[in-house]
Every structure is written in C-alpha cells, then in structure tokens.
C-alpha cells in the first residue's frame, strides 16, 4: 500500500548539537487515523514541526506522497493541512474571510469553496458567526474555525495537534465524524492527543513517544500482544510502555 507520510530515521530539533527527537520512524497510510501520543515534552510537537517543514531534520528523511520538503516546498505543503494546538488567526479578518482566504491559498475554485464550506459551517454550528472576528471567539470556536479551514481543503494528509482541547462535546463529536469521513474518502490523519479513551475508539494505529524516541507503535491488538496483556486498554498500555516495563 502507498504511504502518504513516511518518516525514516528522523533525528532533529531546534539546534544541531542538541537533538530533541531521535531516530523516529513511522508512516501514515491512506484511509487511516494514526495517533501520536506521549507525555508533555516527549517530542510530539517537534516531530510535527519537522513534518510541516518548519524544522530541518539533522538526519533521516520525511516524505509526503513521495515529495521531500526541500525539493519543492510548495508541492510538499499542498499535500497537507495543519490544525495547531493553539488556534492561529488573523485579527483583521472575519470567520468567512478566513475561510475564503484559505480557499484561495489552496487554489480552490469559488464554486468548490462555496459547495464545501456551507455543510461544514452547519456541522460545526458556526453559520451565525461568519461575519464576526475570531478575536471575539472563545477558544473552542477558534478551534472550530481552524478545523473547518483544514477540512475544506480535503488534502491527502491531515496533521492535527491536540484537536480536542477546548472543544465542547458536540464539537468533539462533529470533528471526529468529519475525520472519519475524510478517512473514508482516502485521506490519512496524524493527530496528537492526551485523551486516550477517544484515541482508542477512533484511531487505527498508535505511536507512543517517550523522551524523543518511539517507545512503541502498532494497532491496539499489536500493542496488547507486545505487552502480553490482551485485555489492556490504551491507557494501561501507554503507562506500561512509557514506564519502560516493556522493551519493544
């Protein structure tokens, strides 16, 4: 099966003499949701920054749909959308203008934009807010804006950092359903999260990071096998792996 995202022995960080992640290897396929989990400071965000092309690996390589960032940054970037943990917005633009601007950036036609955006506005119950400024939104509403901008583009790869924080229960449900739908349509999704019960239900595979390295990865049953505890929940597995009781 082709891979959408492939990390191969990536070592990197902000400073060449002080790498934060070490020899990270994993992949994301079409039609799957992969969870990247780990404690604060485990290296999840640094890994994501490398995937986004914001940091250059010291060693190893990253490809999205076969493209490497430095070969052609614009093609590379056009294959993913990113939802950051902290919503980023332009204070001069309304919700609608953010959406329209994003559509322009990713080269959507006006028709495609209008066709895709109204169902999303409805799903996330933001129709009444289109002419308001995100400056006056709650964190959850800003997060919904970021989510809609990412979903609207329908890229092959979604990179999502802590998507559930700040969302209300309905928002969480809408997001998970939308991601499920994107997955059915052939996208791959990489998301970090601390909410393991949700991850367990919605994600197909798990990558557990600890101290900048991958402590374990696989499907739930693969992880259960590795730990020798076929009944273990993701919570239990997670603690087990990061406490180093199981060497994988």
């Amino acid at each position: 099966m082709t891979k959408i995202l492939q990390l191969d022995g990536v070592t990197g960080g902000y400073d060449a003499s002080n790498p934060i992640i070490h020899d990270v290897t994993f992949d994301v396929h079409p039609n799957e949701i992969v969870a990247l989990i780990g404690l604060n400071g485990a290296g999840k965000s640094t890994t994501i920054k490398h995937i986004l092309g914001l940091l250059k690996p010291h060693q190893g390589s990253i490809t999205i749909n076969g493209h490497r960032f430095l070969d052609d940054p614009d093609t590379y970037r056009s294959h993913y959308t990113f939802i950051p943990e902290t919503p980023v917005y332009y204070k001069e633009m309304t919700l609608w203008e953010h959406l329209e601007f994003t559509a322009r950036v990713y080269g959507l036609s006006r028709e495609t934009f209008e066709k895709r955006i109204h169902p999303l506005l409805h799903t996330f119950r933001m129709e009444a807010k289109i002419n308001q400024f995100p400056e006056h939104f709650s964190k959850g509403m800003r997060q919904k804006m970021m989510i809609m901008m990412a979903l609207m583009v329908k890229p092959p790869l979604y990179i999502i950092d802590e998507p559930l924080m700040g969302l209300d229960p309905l928002g969480i449900q809408s997001l998970l359903q939308s991601l499920e739908k994107a997955k059915q349509e052939g996208s791959g999704i990489l998301m970090t999260t601390h909410i393991l019960s949700t991850a367990e239900r919605y994600c197909d595979r798990f990558i557990i990071m600890h101290d900048g390295r991958i402590a374990a990865q696989g499907t739930l049953s693969e992880l259960q096998q590795k730990s020798g505890n076929p009944q273990a929940t993701l919570d239990e597995l997670y603690l087990e792996f990061i406490e180093g009781r199981v060497r994988s």
């Binding site: 250059k56 614009d74 590379y76 980023v88 332009y90 001069e92 601007f101 080269g107 006006r110 400024f133």
Partner: protein, 419 residues
C-alpha cells in the same frame, strides 16, 4: 511582608525608561529623523508667509480653543501596570495610592511637555494675534493655563476610569472637552469671559461633583487600567516602528466593511491570495490605515499651501517617500504571520502582492495630492510634471527599491531557517 509600591513604580519606571531610551536612540540613528528636520525647516520657512497670509478675520482664539480644548482633554494614563497585576496587585488595592500618584505626575509631565512644545510652535501666532491685540492674556499665562487644564483633565480621566459604562465615560469626556475649550476661549478672548468663563466654571464644578460621586461608589477598574497601559504601549511601539522594526506590534482592529470588500473582487486564484489578505489588513489595521490617510491629506494640503512650484514638488515627493517607508515598516508585520510558512505558495507571491499594493497606495496619494495643484497658476509643463513625477516615484519606489529590499529580506530569512 509588605510590598513597597513606590519602589515598585520606580523599578518599573526605570525599566520602561531604559527601553524607551533604547528605541529613541535607534530612531535618532535612522535617517528618517532627517526628513522630520527638513519638514521642520520648510515649516519655519513658510511660517512667516503663512502668518501674513492668514486673514485678520480668522478666529484665532476659537481655533486655539478647539485645538487645545481637545488636546488638554484627551490622553490616558500610563500606569506601567502589567496583565499579571490583576492577580498579584489587586490584594494591595488600598495601598496603591503612592504608586498611582507617581504615575499621575509622570503622565502630567509627559503630556504637558507635548502641549508645551505645540504651544511654543504656535507662539508667534498667539503673540501676534491674541496678546498684541489685547484679546487675551500673555503667552506664559496661556501655557500655564494649558498645563493646569491638563492636570485637571488627567485627574478626571483617572477617576472616570473607574466607570464600567463606556457611554457614560464618553459623555464625561465630551463635557470635559467643552469645559476645557471654554476655559481657553475665555483667556484668549477676554471679552467672552462673562459668558464662557461662567459656563466653564459651572461645568467644572459639575465635573468635580460627579467625580466625587464616582469615587465614592466605584473601586479601581483594573481591567480598564491595564488596557489603557496596553494602548499606550502599542502607541509607543507603533511610533517607534515607523523608524525601526519593532516586530511585536499589537494593533487595534477597526471593522470596516466596504473598502476591505474590494479584496473580494480579486480573481479566485492562488496568485491573488496574499493580495487578498494584505488589503484586509491594510484597511482594518487601525494605525497604518489612519497614517496613510493622514499622509495623503496632509500631502494635498501642503501642495495647496506652498506657493512656489519647486517647493511644492519637493514636499510632494517627500510625502510619497514617507508613505512608502510607512508601508515598508508594515512588511515584517505582514510576512511574519505564522501560517504563511505553511501555505503552498511561493514566497515571491508575498513580495509581488506587497509591492503592487504599495504601488496602488502611492498612486492614489500621487493623484489625490496633485488635485490641489490644479488650483495654482502654473505653466502647462508644471501642471503635468507634478503628477508624472508622482507616478514615477510610486513606480520606482514600489517595484524597484521596495521589491529589492523585500527580496533581500526574504533571502536572509530563508538562509536563517534552512541554512
């Protein structure tokens, strides 16, 4: 242990002054100061002829009263409060007196100095038309009154900051402005004194009464005070940013619908994306838009006021250049948006959007400011030369000078990021 709030103020004030002096030094080093100096010299040169030209019937006293009435009334408080004070200093609320007293005198001194400078600039006008004609009191009496009014207004503003109702604060501001205007009117036009003086007195007594009531019934409004500090801070950095790059500007956004709506007319295409957002930012970012508007209006006014053609041309081009520099100062704010680094668009799109929008801004000013030029008696060549020179400057600045700078700037940043 009790925190000594006076020491706290001194510490913060020292840190603030160090920062301010650092930036003022940078301004001193930038070539832009030279432009101000040039304008100043040009101003001094035309001042005399302006005074001679000003008709005797011009109501100087009313003019001064309105200008200084507004200037003495406006102006907030720099308190050097920080957002975290909302948590850490509020328990000391009752002991904050010495801290706020110091901040009050600081504000009085700084804003008073501004008034003083403006008054000195207007001194020839004042002395010639007000004092020499016997219409009003001496110049120093006038300055003294301005400073007193400033102090009183700042004190009132301090008390009003306790109010939560924006509307009431606005009404009180308006009343104070009328009172201040009347006070100035009564000393610069002594024959109005029986009316304006009594009215001013009544309004002042009312304001004092109102202030007492507010003080009795309202506590400090910390959030307003902190916001006021942030506004003052933003203003300072905006000012500095016109000369040197500050980077972390917090600008206020004004919601405008019609002009930013022009961006929607752009073709729905990747190449136009940055132009789209730049137009929105330009029209809604309060400070820059206001600055462009003012520069354009003042340019037109200068062209109108300056009688000889070459003076006119020089100032006209100077203003276009200054406007171009204002745009350039906005570049870091524009292209350092975090999300820009994730978009699948070449960096060159940012440059071309920025250069072409700058060109449009300069062209609009070049055309607008050339209109008053038509009212002057010139030869046909001069009529044509001014707007043509303006268009040439707009083009050369935007697509050559500025574009080169943007390219270099982006290359340097690329190098820093990816090595």
């Amino acid at each position: 242990m009790n925190l000594d709030v006076s020491t706290l103020w001194s510490q913060r004030f020292q840190a603030f002054s160090r920062n301010a002096i650092f930036y003022l030094g940078k301004i001193g080093n930038s070539g832009f100061l030279f432009v101000i100096l040039l304008l100043f010299i040009a101003g001094a040169y035309y001042y005399r002829s302006f005074l001679d030209w000003l008709p005797a019937s011009f109501p100087v006293s009313l003019f001064l009263a309105v200008i200084f009435g507004f200037l003495t009334t406006r102006g907030g408080h720099r308190t050097l409060l920080k957002p975290a004070d909302l948590i850490y200093l509020t328990p000391l609320e009752l002991n904050m007196g010495p801290y706020f007293a110091r901040s009050y005198f600081y504000n009085w001194a700084v804003q008073g100095a501004g008034l003083f400078i403006l008054a000195v600039i207007l001194n020839p006008l004042y002395t010639e038309r007000i004092y020499a004609t016997g219409a009003g009191i001496s110049f120093w009496g006038f300055v003294f009154t301005l400073l007193l009014l400033k102090g009183a207004n700042l004190f009132a503003r301090w008390i009003e900051a306790r109010l939560h109702h924006k509307k009431k604060r606005r009404i009180l501001f308006f009343l104070r402005m009328i009172a201040s205007t009347l006070w100035i009117l009564s000393i610069t036009s002594l024959n109005t004194l029986p009316v304006s003086g009594i009215l001013a007195m009544m309004l002042t007594v009312y304001a004092a009464y109102e202030g007492r009531q507010i003080q009795k019934s309202h506590a400090y409004n910390w959030e307003t005070l902190i916001r006021m500090e942030q506004v003052a801070d933003a203003r300072f950095y905006r000012f500095v940013n016109q000369f040197v790059d500050v980077g972390h500007l917090q600008d206020r956004v004004v919601y405008r619908r019609i002009l930013p709506g022009l961006a929607e007319k752009l073709p729905f295409h990747k190449t136009q994306a940055y132009r789209y957002i730049l137009i929105k930012m330009l029209f809604r970012g309060g400070a820059l838009w206001g600055m462009l508007l003012r520069l354009t209006l003042v340019n037109g006014l200068m062209v109108y006021l300056i009688p000889d053609f070459y003076g006119e041309l020089a100032v006209y081009i100077l203003f276009l250049m200054v406007t171009g520099m204002q745009m350039r100062a906005f570049w870091p704010v524009f292209h350092r948006q975090f999300m820009f680094r994730l978009y699948p668009l070449p960096d060159a799109y940012q440059r071309s959007a920025f250069a072409s929008v700058t060109f449009t801004v300069l062209m609009i000013q070049a055309l607008f400011a050339a209109i008053p030029h038509l009212f002057h008696q010139h030869g046909i060549m001069e009529y044509i030369l001014l707007p043509v020179a303006g268009a040439g400057v707009a083009y050369l600045y935007s697509f050559v000078v500025l574009y080169r700078y943007l390219t270099r700037n982006q290359q340097e940043e690329q190098l820093m990021m990816y090595g």
